[in-house]
Symmetry: C2
Subunit: 136 residues, 2 copies
DNA sequence: GTTCATACTTACCTTTTTGTAGGTACTTTC
DNA sequence: GAAAGTACCTACAAAAAGGTAAGTATGAAC
């Protein structure tokens, strides 16, 4: 009954510990949610195209508000995926980029996004058909 | 100023149309959100392990309520990613599986999830460090 | 004939997320 | 000296997501 989530028992186990998103209590769930959040995905993809300033990101990720962009960036920074570099000048100049860990994550996220973009037509066609189903 | 989102102009363009998640109006945004939704990710990964019944999914995806599981499955079915097969028996018997399109999507989602699970320790370590940063 | 089981749906309520509008600090431009 | 520009933060309000508990249908088991 006792499910292992991410509780290293001792010694070697600590180094081999692996997350399990199916477990509610596993911290991987939270990281997954940050990465797959509405704006998190788009920010990661945008940053995988290179360093961006705050205002640049806002323009690129159409529809995001300042508040949500700031919040998303902070979450990704806290997870160690995004690097924030502030230059002490006026007006303020801040650059955002991916950390090595962030680049790894972004590769996977981009693969998904690219697939969706490439298969949009199929996806939309499937949606049109899928509606009047239900055998029972 | 006029950004192309997913508005096929004519002829060949229709076949070459490609989504752009950075555009607010592009329908790829919605599909992306279904796939990367809190429970959508987990359902796709679960189903990539094979056909499941409703109750099986509920048990596997710990923490999901009946309502959300049903809602998530319906959204994925509508997008043409999940296939629902209902057998007209009593008590009801319904099987969920991935469509070919769903399998493609699930591969990408799983890649991300696996990466997170594999690198949980690094991610958590990075989080611990990333807090007292800020150069300015 | 009451209970049980499955796969849901629905109503109602709470929590979380997101948006809006305004403010801040400081310097350069007009 | 008023306005503009950057990168935010904060309070408030609205919208969306999520949870809980109950109900539905049907036939088989008791």
């Amino acid at each position: 009954m006792t499910e292992r989530t991410h509780l290293p028992a001792s010694g070697i186990a600590e180094k081999l510990a692996r997350g399990d998103v199916f477990s509610e209590a596993c911290p991987s769930r939270q990281i997954l949610q940050h990465i797959t959040s509405r704006w998190g995905v788009l920010v990661l993809v945008a940053l995988s195209g290179g360093t961006h300033r705050f205002a640049e990101l806002r323009r690129k990720v159409s529809g995001v508000s300042e508040k949500m962009l700031a919040q998303t960036l902070r979450a990704l920074e806290t997870d160690g995926l995004v690097d924030r570099t502030a230059f002490p000048v006026v007006p303020p100049h801040v650059e955002y980029s991916l950390t090595p860990l962030g680049r790894e994550a972004a590769i996977r996220v981009e693969a998904l996004v690219d697939w969706i973009e490439d298969n949009l037509d199929d996806l939309q066609a499937a949606r049109a058909e899928a509606e009047p189903a239900a055998v029972l």
